[in-house]
Symmetry: C2
């Protein structure tokens, strides 16, 4: 009998953990991703805010499995699944047959029916998003430096983050520190202290996944950094040069989106039942109804925790699911009974708010302040893959901690003036000068 | 009397050195660059070959001068110079008046009248070039892994470098090591050892700036790494999927250009006399004829060394010129006689050929082999700006030296399949499969 062929689609936390946990199993594995690298998404906001280099939080997938000859890595985009013929369809028409399929294809930004907002308010999901946001922010400071009209200058110095979850909070804190610590002394015509960072959240408080006191602490810590926090204020319009929330219209050249996600189209490929965010409603063992050979995990799956609440879209949840799926596959191969249904164990919620402030909610204990911040740092270094990146990230953080200087402040890819049209608009009144 | 205003265009080695050497002079300085960063170009090939991260060899210009309140940094593209009104014209129509102007605008690739070759054979001058080359190379290996036709597969595994100067030699050595050391064990369908790296040089030998024995040694060292060196072979055609040189036509998906440079258009802006490469023919004190208030330095200037040979387009030459120009400006301001004409001092030529092999020609002494390689490493670390980057580059090199792993192997910016059309061509015979 030929070996079982397990196809894993997606090289995020769920997909990588599945392949890792299948080590030693008598299977042939193909892992497919549209990018050549696994990304440590929890630190992506630090690339966007010029704290880390792209290569410090990403690893070539095929490098991770170089010592696993039974694992083949494919750089390709999946376009569909033929669950009758058991084949995955790639962008170039190739078909990859499978015996068992694991879909771990993640999520993307959701603009709640306003996809036209995307070009004004980019989200943060991959390395290009991060370098795009980095470029827009740094360009906004450069434009402010050369702007003579006070209102336009203030708009260039106004940064709006939509969404008060961990990503929004971390972005807001990092931008405030960039302006108030790193960039000080570097400009001649503007005072970076005049930078306005506004964090907008539709719910009555930020960090909804945390307890109320931690969320109140986080808001105070943000305000100490100079961030304006606006809760209970749903955004009703994103456009060129401004954003409308509550009853307020705010002029700004830079809006970042950290508000919502929608699942990748796995449910459509499978014609499977999905929830409102597009996540596949899987069985208790993470398989697709009527397809025990297809698993869906991570941000693409709608799974309930033992307490009946939805499993959150965070790295530990995806990793637990990947590990669980590997156990099921191995049990089937060995002819053993399958383990019981997947049970999510919540290890805790973490968010950092600039230097020396963070909140941690382990459930049994809640932490905030500098101790939480140190735990946050150590935990993130620990979960990075590979000694090389642990040293590099540790060094980068130490450097920023001591000097306040951020080394990755590069404006690359695309001309400065090709950004949002508020930035690029020709200014006839000035042009008349020559 | 108002302070003198010195405008420096270009944040490369020449421009940065000019501003540095003007420290303490009673002048106001504006430095203009179309990028926000100074780039350590000698190590750019290491970004292209995934050895270093972009932020390890680039620094925000305004950060370099944060402690010099008299220095203003402008992110803008210069479109022309009005030498009568003494004004620099920017891309957005703004005019920057000057008392003294220093043009240090560098050079770009020259395709010897075949500009249509550029899209098939990108050159290496800035960070985007480096990440483009990195992406194309890594994608070529990925395509080879999925290719079933042996001839096409070999074309994906064939890398051609045109130009046998230091950049071409260093690129060829680094690509050969990438294939033969770093990528080994990572692919399942191809053997990276089958990678063919071909270095093409029109002259009878590579590294023309070095002595004949060093150039012979470099050729042998490259061949030991598996590079095919073809000298006396001018390229007559670059096209989609192949290159023609001498009487040979070679199928390849990746061609890199390291053959020729042409100066930036400073001579046209000034309507000044220029040589064939477009470099301004400056006076012995590096000023433009009839314009003692305009200096042109670095790769944009045609200058002769004391022995009558042209000053080479290398970093030490640009830095010497920047320092000299600052001395002239300071002498004028102090009412002292100007120093004598600029005299270039050649400090040496260096090139590295992979791990533990390099050639150094100091004139009075010639070195090759591992000692030269160590000197090359130490010299480059020394000339990097800033402790942070010295540590980071030192760490990256140490890591690669010990493990052979390169951390920056990221395919970013642009879909893999949007590359050269040989790579992106739809393959109808395969598409029929579904």
């Amino acid at each position: 009998m030929a070996e079982q062929h397990v196809v894993v689609v997606g090289g995020g936390f769920g997909g990588i953990e599945t392949v890792r946990s299948l080590a030693g199993a008598p299977v042939r594995i193909t892992i497919i991703d549209q990018r050549n690298h696994h990304l440590f998404q929890p630190l992506l906001y630090q690339v966007a805010t010029a704290m880390l280099a792209t290569s410090e939080i990403a690893w070539p997938i095929r490098h991770l499995f170089r010592n696993r000859p039974e694992v083949e890595t494919l750089l390709a985009t999946v376009r569909g699944v033929d669950s009758k013929k058991r084949e995955v369809l790639l962008h170039d028409g190739h078909l990859v047959p499978y015996d068992t399929l694991v879909l771990a294809t993640g999520a993307t930004h959701a603009y709640f029916g306003h996809d036209e907002w995307e070009k004004f308010a980019p989200g943060l999901k991959n390395l290009e998003d991060a370098t795009t946001i980095r470029r827009r922010m740094l360009v906004a400071f450069e434009r402010a430096e050369r702007e003579t009209d006070p209102a336009r200058r203030q708009a260039f110095l106004t940064f709006v983050i939509i969404g008060g979850g961990p990503t929004g909070v971390e972005l807001a804190g990092a931008i405030a520190e960039l302006a108030h610590v790193t960039l000080v002394k570097e400009f001649r015509n503007i005072d970076p202290h005049l930078t306005k960072v506004v964090l907008i959240e539709a719910a009555p408080r930020i960090l909804l996944a945390f307890s109320e006191d931690l969320s109140a602490y986080a808001q105070k810590a943000l305000e100490r950094l100079g961030v304006e926090v606006r809760t209970g204020a749903p955004v009703t319009e994103c456009a060129d040069g401004y954003v409308v929330f509550g009853k307020e219209k705010l002029a700004t050249a830079t809006v970042l989106w950290a508000a919502g996600v929608k699942a990748s189209p796995a449910a459509q490929w499978l014609n499977a039942p999905a929830d409102r965010a597009g996540r596949v409603e899987v069985e208790p063992d993470l398989t697709v109804p009527d397809h025990p050979e297809i698993f869906v995990i991570g941000d693409t799956a709608a799974v309930l925790a033992p307490d009946g609440s939805p499993v959150p879209g965070i790295a530990p949840a995806a990793k637990q699911q990947g590990s669980y799926v590997a156990t099921v596959i191995k049990a089937r191969l060995a002819g053993r009974p399958e383990p019981g249904p997947f049970r999510y164990k919540h290890t805790g919620s973490l968010a950092t708010i600039g230097k020396r402030a963070a909140v941690i909610d382990f459930g049994w204990i809640k932490l905030r302040g500098w101790l939480a911040w140190w735990i946050w740092c150590v935990a993130h270094i620990f979960f990075l893959i590979g000694t090389r990146n642990r040293i590099a990230v540790g060094l980068s953080w130490l450097w920023i901690y001591v000097t306040g200087h951020r080394s990755a402040r590069l404006i690359t890819q695309g001309q400065a003036r090709e950004e949002t049209s508020m930035i690029s608009a020709p200014r006839p009144e000035k042009r008349r000068r020559h």
